[in-house]
């Protein structure tokens, strides 16, 4: 079903969902994203659940790297640990790692959903027709797509030739040394082939100076509009669910964590992701929330764009000092942390 949709609206929806998945540092959001992508592949596209599970493996391995990094190399803060003890996932390092792990799978599954339901040729044609991709680049992409299986065949031939010299059948999977030794001959093949293909295309009239027709390009229909609307509604609903105001402790603990230590804890992620930009006042507010859980609704309202005044929180002196002292550090550390998190 998704395979019949126009590639470009599908691309926009998938990119939007991936960007949101990166920005919303929430376990629930990531899990819902994974479930939706996997469900769409299994139910709508009739893909085998085993295949879908297998697809998750490389992304899970990638995410596992985030997970172990977060758990093993994180600086702890006393306050964060105390607050994290109240979270459903126990240790904050574990919590952050788990979210990072799921985020990698979620982004990967959305990408896989797009790749498995989109004809690459149709995508390139759509790009040429609707987004004015120059034909020279479009057909270079066509060639690149064609080259992949051809390179595979070429590689097998070279492997057979080498195996013949050694007098034994080739290994089923080439080892790292063999793989490295294949790079140069395959590169030479790709270059030769690219040159010959360029000649052939030119001989058949491909020229930037001519206006060309693109046949069989996908045409947007009402189904595509409906698909986009449904997906956007779904996305908004999932975002709203992720940001609902009944799950404050984890965010507050995390926010305080970064305010205290400047470390790569979950707080930095939450605030960087819940609000598009992080400012000194954001972290101050988060710190204030951590000191006084009662204030969390106000803090969240700031995040939603409403004005937040820390002085209006009625914090006691110790807490106020704490928040003021930490805010400057937090703003510096947050700026430093932003590229890592994204």
């Amino acid at each position: 079903m998704l395979s019949t949709l126009h590639p470009l609206p599908k691309l926009v929806v998938c990119v939007l969902w991936i960007v949101t998945s990166i920005l919303i540092f929430d376990l629930g959001f990531q899990l819902v994203t994974i479930a939706l992508a996997a469900g769409a592949l299994i139910v709508l596209e009739r893909r085998s659940p085993l295949l879908v599970m297998a697809l998750m493996v490389p992304f899970a391995l990638f995410g596992f790297g985030f997970f172990t990094t977060s758990v093993l190399f994180r600086q702890d803060s006393t306050f964060a640990l105390q607050m994290a003890a109240e979270t459903p996932f126990g240790a904050p390092a574990f919590s952050a790692g788990l979210i990072l792990f799921c985020r990698a799978i979620a982004c990967g599954m959305v990408s896989a959903l797009f790749a498995l339901t989109t004809d690459p040729g149709a995508l390139i044609k759509a790009l040429m027709v609707h987004w004015r991709l120059p034909p020279s680049i479009g057909f270079a992409l066509f060639q690149a797509l064609n080259l992949v299986p051809d390179l595979g065949r070429e590689m097998q031939q070279i492997r057979l030739a080498r195996a013949m010299r050694k007098g034994r059948p080739p290994r089923r999977v080439p080892g790292p040394v063999e793989l490295v030794s294949l790079i140069v001959p395959l590169l030479a093949y790709a270059i030769r082939r690219a040159g010959r293909s360029a000649l052939a295309m030119e001989a058949r009239g491909l020229s930037p100076a001519r206006t060309r027709t693109v046949t069989n390009a996908p045409v947007p229909t009402g189904r595509d509009r409906l698909f986009v609307m449904i997906c956007l509604c779904l996305l908004v609903a999932v975002i709203a669910s992720a940001l609902r105001p009944d799950r404050p402790l984890q965010e507050a603990a995390a926010a305080t964590d970064i305010a205290h230590t400047g470390s790569r804890g979950p707080a930095a992620m939450i605030w960087r992701t819940s609000c598009s930009t992080v400012s000194m006042i954001d972290v101050t507010a988060a710190t204030a929330r951590s000191a006084s859980p009662r204030m969390i609704p106000s803090a969240r309202s700031r995040c939603s764009g409403k004005l937040f005044n820390p002085n209006a929180l009625g914090l006691n002196g110790e807490s106020a000092d704490f928040s003021n002292a930490s805010s400057s550090r937090a703003s510096i550390s947050t700026k430093k942390e932003l590229p890592d998190a994204s």
């Binding site: 064609n146 070279i158 059948p169 010959r196 052939a200 295309m201 009239g205 027709t213 046949t215």
Partner: protein, 555 residues
């Protein structure tokens, strides 16, 4: 968008294509790749361009639309004109409406992901209406015989021969006044090759065809004029084929250039004063002449023809002990599905077995399985490992020059002593320091075979289409090498599309079709079975009518 002047007006007196004292030299080359050439292709004319490997035929075709020197750097002397207009005045793409160019390797012509995209490409570049492109795509697919079900197939899933047919359709759809084809049938099974000639050479109208090919017998009857280049790329002969081959055929044979089989018999009969008044160019013409000879003349003609045909017939050999055996084998390419099931066959020492079948029948997979390079999915293989000379010899080369390639194939202690001898024997002495990729196709094949045979290491050698794209001299070198190897006691398996070659060298043929072996036996029996040949998309060898006539005369 450039405003191109109209191309090739229908009634223009100018020839379709014209080379005027053209010579081409590539950068850093010591001599011209081709030329000097002065030649015309007229309207309604079908011209065959012949020459030995490396004589610059492809280069000459590339000058026609300015690919050389505008895209491929070279120095070009003289003038090339299309319809009287100098080609230098436009980029190569500007001549696409006037010249349809089918390249030597179909894989390099393919640009789209699907068959329909591939075929529509040339018309899309002209900016035609989508409905017209669609109609013409369907029409040309029907004309070439491509099933409608192929429309959405990715070209990467097609076999080599199927790709060749798609590339042909993609070139024919341009409906250009001049059709240029560079070895269009090199990868095709015989029956498919005949279909290609029918498509390219018939219904010419006011257009013209310029074709380069080595398989002459199936198409020479439709050729109006032949132009011949020598070793150095100079034009040495030109004229109507019948007269040209009778007058210059012996010289062409000596230079290693292909001549039609019938013309070889015709020239032999001329020497005995038994030839027809009008030179025989096809086996049908020769057959008609022989049928009308008197009994005495027929006996004399038979002796002459038998002597001429002797090198084209296999020598009787006595096979030795079994070298390799497959029993109930299921053969599949690496990571691919099973393409052949329940294969049981064996090859003995000193035996030459031909593996024939349609494009995509699984010939190369069987060859690699025989050599022990592919693990069987089922069944068993008994015997020592073998070697393969791949269809694309480049896949076999790993070293930086010809010398090192041979040295790597030999035992280290004797390598230097033997290399000079091997280079001389295989005619590679002049290219010893060149990179293997820089050699001509014939030289690459010779080097690949030289490496395989140098080490005396493999009791079985599989040759995958060893004559593809070779001139007559190159094929003779291969035939001699195969004979020598068999005499030395090696078992040889040859994957072949050329049935005359198969008949000439093979002791036994194995025919593949429908996912298995459908026949096995002596070439003379297999190649006489018309139903079997049709089932396997094969065609009888060109020499067969003459052999049949000889049998009848004997009786």
């Amino acid at each position: 968008m450039s405003a191109a002047p109209p191309l090739l007006p229908e009634q223009s007196a100018s020839p379709l294509a014209e080379w005027d004292s053209v010579a081409v030299r590539y950068p850093y080359a010591a001599r011209d790749a081709v030329g000097p050439v002065s030649h015309l292709v007229g309207r309604g004319e079908r011209v065959l361009l012949l020459g030995p490997s490396g004589s610059g035929k492809s280069t000459l075709l590339w000058t026609l639309t300015g690919i050389v020197p505008q895209t491929v750097p070279a120095t070009v002397q003289g003038h090339v004109r299309i319809g009287g207009v100098d080609v230098a005045g436009r980029p190569p793409a500007g001549w696409a409406d006037a010249v349809a160019h089918l390249f030597q390797d179909a894989e390099h012509t393919l640009t789209g992901l699907r068959v329909a995209d591939e075929i529509a490409f040339a018309l899309e570049n002209r900016g035609l209406q989508e409905t017209e492109i669609e109609a013409r795509t369907r029409a040309v697919m029907a004309r070439v015989g491509l099933p409608e079900t192929w429309r959405d197939r990715r070209t990467s899933t097609l076999s080599g021969g199927e790709k060749q047919l798609v590339a042909l359709a993609a070139t024919l759809i341009a409906d250009a006044p001049l059709f240029v084809a560079d070895e269009p049938t090199a990868s095709l099974a015989p029956a498919a090759a005949r279909r290609v000639y029918d498509l390219v050479l018939n219904d010419l109208g006011n257009g013209g065809v310029l074709i380069v090919d080595h398989r002459l017998d199936a198409m020479i009857g439709a050729i109006d004029r032949v132009a011949v280049l020598d070793d150095h790329g100079a034009l040495v002969a030109e004229g109507p084929p019948a007269a040209l081959f009778r007058m210059h055929g012996d010289r062409l044979d000596a230079e290693g250039i292909w001549t039609p089989l019938a013309s070889r018999f015709d020239r032999a009969l001329v020497k005995a004063d038994l030839a027809p008044a009008r030179p025989a160019l096809t086996m049908e013409q020769l057959g008609r002449h022989l049928a009308h000879l008197s009994t005495d003349a027929a006996d004399r003609a038979r002796a002459i023809i038998a002597k001429t045909a002797a090198p084209m017939l296999p020598r009787r050999r006595t096979p030795g002990a079994r070298v390799v055996q497959l029993q109930g084998a299921a053969c599949a390419p690496l990571f691919g599905p099973i393409v052949l099931r329940d294969v049981t066959m064996e090859i003995a020492a000193g035996e030459i077995v031909g593996i024939v079948g349609a494009n995509g029948a699984g010939k190369s997979t069987l060859g690699a399985s025989l050599a022990g390079l592919l693990r069987l999915k089922a069944g068993r293989r008994d015997g020592l490992p073998g070697a393969i000379a791949f269809q694309n010899p480049e896949n076999q080369f790993l070293e930086a020059n010809v010398h090192d390639e041979l040295a790597a194939a030999l035992p280290k202690d004797t390598a230097e002593d033997r290399i000079a001898d091997i280079l001389g024997r295989w005619g590679l002495g002049d290219v010893v320091r060149q990179h293997p990729y820089e050699l001509s196709q014939g030289q690459k094949r010779r080097l690949a075979l030289a490496c395989l045979t140098a080490a005396d290491r493999w009791p079985l050698i599989v040759l995958d289409e060893p004559t593809s794209g070779l001139d007559a001299r190159g094929v003779k070198t291969i035939v001699d090498a195969v004979d020598t190897l068999a005499d030395d006691g090696r078992a040889i398996a040859i994957i072949a599309h050329d049935m005359d070659f198969a008949l000439a060298v093979c002791d036994r043929l194995v025919v593949l079709a429908d996912g298995g072996i459908i026949a096995e036996g002596a070439p003379s029996e297999i190649l006489h079975d018309a139903a079997l040949l049709a089932r396997a998309d094969l065609a009888p060898p060109a020499i067969l009518p003459v052999l049949d006539w000889m049998d009848r005369v004997t009786c």
